[in-house]
Symmetry: C2
Subunit: 214 residues, 2 copies
């Protein structure tokens, strides 16, 4: 019996190891990404973006450089890896928005559809913005990403039948609304949701642009 | 008599030299600037902005490097020296615009007031745009200048009593309208004036933004 017990025990231990390994792997992957992001942002703020190396980020996260490169192509990518998902979400929502909507309202629907990507990551967004504000190269990168988003939205509006300059204007206004709303959301003390602020800014835009058409 | 004639002649020659020198100095100054700009743009297009030196620009213009630096701080400045004048014109016109105008219409007045700075220099503007389109650093510079203009206009609107985000939104829309109108003016085949296109784009903006306020 003792042998059986021992065998059983051994089996259990192996089983447990296997389970724990599986579980930790399961948790590990998303966790590694989050830990790398957290470590990178902390270092960028402490030392500046330019003075931080990938090796230091990995070390701070308790991971290897190899693991870093499994998630990000370089240290800048930590700050911009969300841009593709954002563009897909925006363009996908615009393509699905009711054809009866005016261009600016279709853009509004697309913008609102993205807030879920940010709401849970407000602290990350806030720290990220602080890092970008201090580095000209990163600001440039951010501007290019926003210009790319505006182009993609304008293209989406053209697919819906909008002409030019209407398509470019509506798309640029949408990105401007989003940028201003995002900055407010990050900086304001209250607890208004990003969705609320985007809606508010879009309404303001309409009021502001509503000078009589001459 | 012959002596008198000769003396007279000599006096005339001296007088003429003096006059010609004065005249040429009078013409020389604006001419040097224009020649440097023309030479720089030609070289930027032939060799690329990065591959052109100040010495080459001066040589092509038939002037010295010292003369170049009397007009421009560096070779990039040839493309952006107009930005300060543009900002002064925009902000000055905004400050003078009737207080009864809505922010977006005051911005419209300011934008239209600047067209004189460009109308006579369409060929320069077109070539300049082609050079900028091919160089990431110059595009970045252009984006920064436009962002600076938007900030200055937003500040001007706040002086007129506009709140936020209305001031930022109206200013950003104004700069977007200007950028899009400017690109159309440079690229379209017809002969519509920049003022006409700015007015048209601003009207389009109002129509585009005019979705029902919910």
């Amino acid at each position: 019996m003792s042998v059986t017990v021992i065998n059983h025990y051994t089996t259990d231990v192996n089983h447990c190891h296997h389970l724990c390994y599986t579980l930790s792997m399961g948790r590990w992957k998303p966790d590694a990404r989050a830990r790398l992001e957290k470590a990178a942002l902390a270092l960028y703020r402490e030392r500046g973006f330019g003075q931080t190396t990938v090796a230091e980020i990995a070390e701070r996260a308790g991971l290897t450089e190899r693991t870093f490169f499994r998630y990000f192509t370089d240290k800048r990518e930590v700050l911009f890896s969300g841009a593709d998902a954002l563009q897909q979400q925006l363009v996908g929502a615009l393509d699905k928005a009711s054809r009866s909507l005016l261009p600016i309202d279709a853009i509004g629907v697309a913008l609102e559809s993205t807030v879920g990507l940010f709401e849970r990551r407000k602290e990350f967004a806030r720290k990220r913005q602080a890092v970008i504000a201090e580095n000209a190269e990163l600001q440039e990168r951010e501007r290019i990403k926003l210009a790319t988003l505006a182009s993609a939205l304008a293209e989406g509006l053209r697919r819906r039948g909008a002409g030019d300059p209407a398509a470019s204007l509506a798309a640029e206004m949408g990105i401007t609304v989003f940028r201003i709303a995002f900055e407010r959301w990050i900086n304001e003390k209250g607890d208004r949701s990003l969705a609320t602020i985007v809606r508010h800014c879009l309404k303001e835009l309409k009021l502001v642009a509503g000078g009589a058409v001459q």
